[in-house]
Symmetry: D2
Subunit: 113 residues, 4 copies
């Protein structure tokens, strides 16, 4: 939840690739549906796990792509403009990276000893 949320006609980091992200997400949705079908049809566990790993990988790739676009657009312009927003955007990005890597925030990390 961020202040940005209510932006009207917002230009996002991923705007240029919107159609590609939609296609990728639709494909992942199809993968999940396929996994549910495998469970329904009593498919061998290991074959289901292979599909779960593939879907997880595809989802992680979407996250990395979004974060990359976010750094290259939103964070970049906030920093170029300066001010308090740059600080907020950088903190948010760090927290998102920590979640992506399967950890909670790393911002307070170095002081954690």
């Amino acid at each position: 939840m961020t202040a940005e949320r209510s932006d009207f006609q917002a230009e996002r980091g991923y705007s240029a690739d919107k159609a590609a992200y939609q296609r990728r997400l639709r494909r992942i949705e199809g993968q999940i549906r396929g996994i549910a079908r495998m469970v329904d049809e009593d498919t061998y566990c290991i074959d289901i796990l292979t599909q779960v790993s593939a879907a997880t990988k595809a989802l992680q790739a979407v996250a990395i792509g979004l974060l990359d676009d976010h750094l290259g657009h939103c964070v970049r312009s906030a920093v170029a403009e300066g001010g308090a927003d740059a600080e907020v955007k950088l903190r948010e990005a760090s927290e998102a990276i920590a979640r992506l890597a399967g950890r909670s925030s790393g911002r307070t990390g170095a002081r954690a000893d």
Copy 2:
């Protein structure tokens, strides 16, 4: 792809929890659809990323549950019965664990020096 695939009326490790897995997968499918909608509505990148992380985590939890059921049923009975199938099942499980942890197989790991 395994020989098991053609089993007819197979009893799987996850059979007892089949309905629960279906519900979890349907919920994940809904999460992915929600993420596609967020992209469509130009939602702020970081808010999308939060949802992608949540879906990834839910998917990983399904994988861990399936693997756990697989070890406790399929691998367990193959080992109890002995024979070549036990060997195959153990190798498959190891490879699935390596994929889950985001690595390729670890079986040849110790020799890799």
Copy 3:
């Protein structure tokens, strides 16, 4: 901490590869020392991060190898012998897999809805 811990002259899953594991761990220890040196010498952040990723990957590969050996020896013989120990060993293995994948236990996973 397990009951096994006090075993005397224990035969472990990794016993046959002990020397290889020692070599791999020594190499990882050297990598960590190298990273500390890089920090000391004000090395560029990204170059340090590359080394941290390499060390993390090497450590994960050791974990996957150990788990693989554990399944193929300890878990296998506990299951072959049957009894309560098989149950304990399978649960322990599942919990270790969940930790490896960066999650807490998956055993209660399927019921978590």
Copy 4:
């Protein structure tokens, strides 16, 4: 390997926390040494795995902290100054994030369909 590497008396993103990072890395080095000792003493596999997971987690936390410092200092000032260096720094950061999350670069991700 980057051009930055030869910088003399470089100010790094992590400079303010240098002593803390050194302490954390020394502690991780001790953890790895402890794991090697456990292997040497035939410690139970699962107890070793618990320590390997703890060391991996500590190492990931160092990476997240370094990346956070890097974004907040190096990337930030490159972007504020503008020019080609900002582009390079942003790309490097994205690639480091992808490695951290256990994937190769995500930059070309969105086009990968």
